[in-house]
């Protein structure tokens, strides 16, 4: 008898970047993961900066801050700020949707009906708009 092989749709590491024919939400998910890992990577350096360098006193601290004035570091720090805005708001969306908010009233499934994802999508798009606005506000701060 042929053995039943479960998890035929198991994508493994490939699922980190591509997991089928999903649209916006799938890419928000990937970006959520990328920003999360990116911020974790940043936090390691941020902790080194605020512990080993900070404890050595004013001169070392000011030398570190002068180093961070480098435009490339500025760009990196801006990206971390945007990653935070994105990860926070998308995370809020995930929590609210997990608890069943934004699902709307139940409707009879008469064709063409909207699936749950499309019912929630206007709110998702509104969240993306808020993220873009906040990213621009942070950009303004880095420019002025």
């Amino acid at each position: 008898m042929k053995q039943i092989r479960p998890r035929q749709n198991y994508l493994g590491a490939g699922g980190w970047v591509w997991a089928g024919n999903y649209k916006l939400e799938r890419y928000l998910y990937i970006l959520h993961r990328v920003t999360g890992l990116g911020m974790l990577f940043f936090v390691i350096f941020h902790l080194i900066e605020t512990t080993f360098f900070r404890i050595q006193g004013q001169d070392v601290w000011e030398a570190t801050m002068a180093l961070l004035q480098n435009p490339w570091f500025e760009v990196g720090i801006y990206l971390v700020a945007v990653a935070f805005v994105y990860h926070a708001l998308n995370g809020l969306r995930l929590i609210l949707q997990e608890f069943g908010f934004f699902l709307g009233k139940p409707t009879p499934p008469i064709y063409p009906y909207k699936d749950a994802l499309r019912k929630k999508r206007p709110w998702t798009l509104a969240m993306v708009a808020v993220i873009v606005i906040l990213a621009l506000v942070f950009l303004l701060n880095f420019i002025i």
Partner: protein, 120 residues
């Protein structure tokens, strides 16, 4: 059952981080915008500004709480990413326990300096 509790804690720490890190981000990265609207803030990365915050108990408490929430949230999240590709329960257990140990060590490391600065 305890796994769903961990996931709930992940969401709860996420909300708490959004609040605490939101404060941190506004102070650190929106200083010029705040000044534009009339607030009188100095450069938040200057030594004087940093020490002024580091010598106030409430700031130190908020930052240490942020560190604790952040470590749980980040390591639980990374564990979730890694556990998508592991195949043995034993390996998953090793990853879980090593993350717990790493988290505790990094928390002690990260919380030590603010406490020293507060008491000096």
């Amino acid at each position: 059952m305890w796994r769903t509790r961990l996931h709930l804690l992940h969401m709860l720490t996420g909300i708490l981080i959004a609040v605490l890190l939101g404060i941190h981000m506004v102070i650190q990265h929106l200083d010029a915008v705040l000044r534009f609207f009339g607030a009188t803030t100095t450069d938040p990365t200057s030594w004087g500004s940093m020490i002024a915050r580091a010598s106030q108990g409430i700031w130190v408490a908020l930052y240490i709480a942020l560190l604790a929430f952040l470590l749980y949230h980040a390591l639980y999240g990374l564990r979730g990413v890694i556990l998508e590709v592991t195949t043995s329960v034993k390996l998953e257990r090793i990853i879980t326990w090593s993350f717990i140990i790493i988290g505790i060590i990094v928390f002690i490391w990260g919380a030590y300096v603010p406490v020293v600065l507060l008491s000096s």
